[in-house]
């Protein structure tokens, strides 16, 4: 950075993404002109990415508490109690901008970063998920981006030995210049062995471990907070290269050290590296921190204080250790062949003091650096309501089965096998529900080191951006509800969510409106479903040349299953089972996949979300599952009921004989409408009476759809299609898009 020695000018301030008001505030806090290193530190700490300055006032509306929440937002990851002395620790994070510039490394380091967030809290990561949005399939960049991102996610996760068990992949032209790569990690820890980042103990040593620091991604955090324009592709900022091998060693070394009593506080170096980790530790602990930057292990010569503090080199951690444990800790890191350096000490000054070559490069008060970070009440306007589209405003198709075939082959509904077969989804040997079901299911030990039993975690990532675009509040609620429904469909009790809010430029009131309203919808749903938010991430400025992406609040949900042997799969289990649709069907076609894929219309209000019905229907389904009555189960989402049925048939190879739709609802509305709060499930003949009786008793809407069997999906009055024909259409999209290589 040539600017290091230079004087601070309005230009330098702007280059650091700071406004002149923000700079005035810096002058006030410092009581003098900052050094370049200090300015750099302010700029990353006050970037959108680290300070949440545009989003904070809205995020406050999300519910974050429940009796089972051990740690809500504010730490590296959220922590929930899952019984038996065990905790699930999880979070989702975006790596959108880096992945657009360098898809392989951008996605890989995104996965590496989120895993560090989880194991820094003492958890062993047990599952990864990834939510991906790409531009139109025929956009010239899409193929290259898909192949790089998927290879990068696999490359990192596979090497770490953590199974990648779920996620989503969507395509839409609004992501042409701004793909979304959201990665989620779920880890497992004992509730009495959770590690936090608040520094404590005056005089305790501050330790740097992991990989060496290079000049990687300097200004990554500010890059993640700036809008793209035509020439950012030209500028090509340095992106970080990931080293999953080093991270695997770091994981094992950290967990080994955590099993001892050595650690006082620990914080990974993520975005804004040493800066945010040291500031976080000291501000949370209310202590000062003095670092000797000459002791930081570096990979390159001549690195300045500015560069060392702002580097985003991967695979590094900062810890405060008990002094008496130093030797033991050093031995562990040496065993794993990682750097281990005492680089500083905790002080009572309340200041962050950085020295290099005996010279003080920065001396700044930590509390105001954090507390006085700007917070913006950005102006916002609501998205105008979209008209409700009724079934008679949409032409009915001639051939329902041809439409079905077209839908299951459409990019958003097509099989994602091409993607998840590149992910090791089996390593660790606990994957019960592999990718391809509603929620992934991973076995866990019974607790306190007990043998693996019947207990499992279920997890899923969900969002329907087209609903959010049409009506952000309904869309926000729907994303939460769908996540809850996916967990319910495998018999899990949904416990909590992490989120990843991907939006455009918050300085535009329409975008800020999408954000504010999506949060409102999410908050309502989370409250109604007892499904608090325990961690999350905000990614703004996903915008190219003033065109924003579809608002995409990705929801990552986690739930627990007490007896995994009862957890149903999507696949029909056997012939002769009775098929039921649970939940009310009005035949909602607005914003549906049917309307978009068959009629080329992206319009209308999205299906309403009735949270009371959602809860009632879900609790009903879960109860039946827990009683062992359900042989297969699938929630109804994109594409509607007939698509859900087709997915169950394709997963099993077993067909079904379906009754005609009810008279009052036209075919296309009944079969392809996307009404919420619905499930398709199957029961054995012998259990039909129990199901119907119970549903009537508590007032659950249900409808008998037909019976499983044969090798065709047959719909009375509409003809038949063979399951294998559907399946070849369903499996064709990705291999065709990505080239024939198998």
């Amino acid at each position: 950075m040539s600017a290091v020695a230079a004087k601070i000018t309005p230009n330098t301030i702007a280059e650091h993404g700071l406004t002149s008001e923000e700079y005035d505030l810096i002058l006030e806090i410092m009581g003098r002109e900052p050094s370049m290193t200090e300015l750099g530190i302010f700029s990353v700490m006050w970037s959108e990415h680290c300070s949440y300055k545009s989003s904070r006032v809205h995020l406050k509306k999300l519910p974050t508490k429940a009796p089972w929440v051990i740690q809500g937002p504010g730490e590296n990851a959220g922590v929930i109690d899952i019984g038996d002395g065990q905790a699930a620790i999880f979070k989702m994070e975006s790596h959108n901008h880096p992945s657009f510039i360098e898809p392989y490394q951008g996605a890989a380091t995104g996965v590496g970063g989120i895993m560090r967030d989880v194991f820094t809290m003492g958890a062993r990561p047990i599952a990864n998920l990834n939510a991906l949005r790409f531009g139109a399939p025929d956009d010239p960049k899409t193929k290259h981006l898909v192949s790089g991102v998927v290879a990068g996610i696999g490359g990192y996760g596979n090497c770490m030995g953590v199974p990648t068990v779920g996620g989503e992949v969507n395509f839409h032209p609004s992501y042409n210049g701004n793909i979304l790569v959201n990665a989620m990690t779920v880890g497992l820890a004992d509730t009495d062995k959770i590690f936090y980042s608040a520094a404590a103990g005056l005089g305790n040593p501050v330790i740097y471990v992991g990989a060496k620091t290079g000049r990687d991604g300097i200004h990554g955090a500010t890059m993640a907070s700036a809008e793209f324009n035509e020439d950012s592709e030209e500028k090509r900022p340095t992106v970080q290269v990931g080293d999953p091998f080093t991270e695997k060693l770091l994981l094992e070394a950290c967990l080994e050290l955590m099993a001892t009593d050595a650690i006082v506080a620990i914080q990974d170096m993520g975005a804004a590296g040493l800066t945010s980790s040291s500031v976080e530790m000291s501000s949370k602990g209310g202590l000062g921190l003095e670092l000797d930057l000459d002791k930081v292990p570096v990979r390159e010569t001549g690195m300045t204080a500015y560069e060392i503090m702002l580097s985003e080199s991967q695979e590094r951690m900062l810890m405060v250790l008990k002094p008496q444990a130093m030797a033991q800790a050093r031995a562990i890191f040496e065993k794993w062949e990682l750097d281990f350096a005492e680089i500083g000490v905790l002080t009572d000054t309340g200041h962050l003091v950085l020295k290099k070559n005996g010279k003080v490069e920065a001396d700044m008060p930590v509390a105001p650096l954090v507390d006085k970070a700007p917070v913006y009440q950005r102006p916002w306007v609501p998205t105008p309501p979209q008209p409700v589209i009724t079934a008679n405003q949409v032409p009915a198709p001639q051939d329902l089965m041809a439409v079905l075939k077209q839908l299951v082959a459409a990019p958003d509904l097509a099989s994602k096998r091409w993607v998840w077969e590149q992910y090791d989804h089996l390593v660790m040997g606990h994957t019960v529900q592999r990718p391809g079901g509603d929620a992934a299911v991973v076995l866990i030990p019974a607790g306190k080191g007990g043998a693996v039993g019947k207990k499992a975690l279920a997890m899923s990532s969900d969002c329907t951006p087209r609903y959010c675009q049409a009506d952000p509040k309904t869309g926000g609620a729907q994303a939460v509800a769908e996540s809850w429904r996916n967990l319910t469909a495998v018999g899990a009790r949904p416990l909590a969510v992490t989120d990843n809010m991907n939006f455009g430029n918050p300085q535009r009131p329409e975008i800020m409106g999408q954000f504010a309203l999506a949060i409102e919808g999410m908050a309502e749903a989370c409250i109604a479903l007892d499904y608090p938010v325990v961690s999350g991430n905000v990614s703004l400025y996903n915008e190219t040349n003033g065109k924003g992406i579809l608002p995409t609040p990705t929801i990552g949900g986690v739930g627990v299953i007490a007896d995994v042997t009862k957890s149903p799969k999507v696949a029909f289990k056997s012939a002769g089972d009775s098929i039921y649709l649970i939940g009310e069907t009005a035949g909602w076609l607005g914003c549906s996949v049917f309307l978009r894929e068959i009629h080329g219309r992206e319009e209308g209000a999205p299906p309403p979300v009735d949270l009371a019905a959602e809860r009632r229907n879900g609790d009903f389904v879960r109860n039946l599952i827990e009683r062992g009555l359900i042989t297969a189960c699938h929630d109804v989402s994109d594409g509607g009921t007939l698509v859900a049925l087709a997915e169950m048939a394709m997963a099993s190879g077993i067909g079904a004989d379906l009754l005609a739709r009810p008279k009052e609802s036209p075919d296309h509305a009944f079969w392809f409408g996307e009404d919420q709060a619905r499930y398709v499930l199957t029961v054995r003949q012998a259990d039909v009476a129990v199901l119907e009786l119970q549903a009537k008793e508590i007032g659950i809407a249900f409808r008998y759809l037909g019976k499983t069997g044969g090798t065709d999906l047959t719909l009375a009055g509409a003809g038949a299609i063979s399951v294998s024909e559907l399946k070849s259409a369903h499996e064709a999209f990705f291999p065709k898009l990505m080239g024939a290589s198998k």
Binding site: A151, G154, G155, N158, C159, M160, G161, D243, P244, F245, T246, K248, L249, W336, E337, W420, E421, Q422, Y423, D424, H425, L426, V427, M428, G429, H430, T431, V432, R434, L443, V452, V564, T565, S741, K742
Partner: protein
């Protein structure tokens, strides 16, 4: 049966293998760190899957030169049983315990899925619990499993009954569309000449519970436990 698992920096299926050995043979294996220079007295050494040394340079190449591998090789020469799975197969092949090499998959992508494996011989301490021709469903998870050897070596392997498993269609027929990685002659696992060393790409340790998809891997562990019972 006493067994040991060699753990390299970057190994990642050592716990899966440990669980399988413990559950099926009844005795937990000893975990041996790569820097150790001596092996405990055991009947079997398992070299597990993963990304030893990050799979940098070539899969298995760096691990193959570790001191512990020298020891494994010496003991294998004296007849001790060695099982290399996935990265373990790559390592022991690089170390010269088995002929051939494992190249990048023909599809150039990592592939994780259940494959059909045809048992080519039941005449070994590893496969005696299976019938020749039996078709197993066992997962693979690798990027470099494309077995290559020159024609002469391949002919020799076949004539000496050294091919353990092949990738096949569900009915046992050989069909290129069921070969996940382009391996020559669909080879998924090979023995050394004396058949005390087996390397295979698929993961029998991930196929030991119905709940997790298959129990077809159990036979391999059972066979070893029987053959190597003290």
């Amino acid at each position: 049966m006493k067994s040991a698992i060699v753990v390299f920096p970057g190994s990642n299926r050592e716990k899966d293998a440990e669980a399988a050995l413990t559950e099926i043979t009844g005795t937990p294996p000893v975990m041996v760190w790569h820097r150790d220079t001596e092996l405990p007295k055991v009947d079997l050494v398992l070299v597990p899957g993963g990304f030893s040394y990050g799979d940098y340079l070539r899969c298995g190449a760096i691990a193959a030169h570790s001191p512990i591998l020298r020891e494994v090789k010496a003991r294998a020469d004296q007849g001790m049983a060695v099982l290399g799975i996935c990265n373990g197969f790559q390592i022991i092949t690089e170390a010269g315990l088995l002929p051939g090499v494992l190249q990048q998959n023909a599809g150039l992508k990592f592939v994780c899925r259940n494959v059909n494996l045809r048992v080519e011989t039941s005449q070994s301490l590893f496969t005696s619990r299976y019938e020749k021709g039996q078709v197993l469903s066992i997962p693979v998870a690798h990027h470099e499993g494309n077995y290559y050897a020159d024609e002469k070596t391949l002919d020799e392997l076949e004539s000496r009954d050294q091919v353990a498993f092949r990738y096949c269609a569900p009915d046992g027929s050989l069909d290129p569309s069921h070969n996940p990685n382009g391996s020559q002659r669909a080879i998924a696992g090979v023995f050394n000449r004396t058949k005390n060393v087996l390397g295979l790409m698929p993961h029998p340790e991930n196929a030991i519970r119905e709940l997790l998809g298959s129990t077809d891997g159990r036979g391999l562990f059972k066979a070893m436990a029987e053959a190597l019972a003290a």
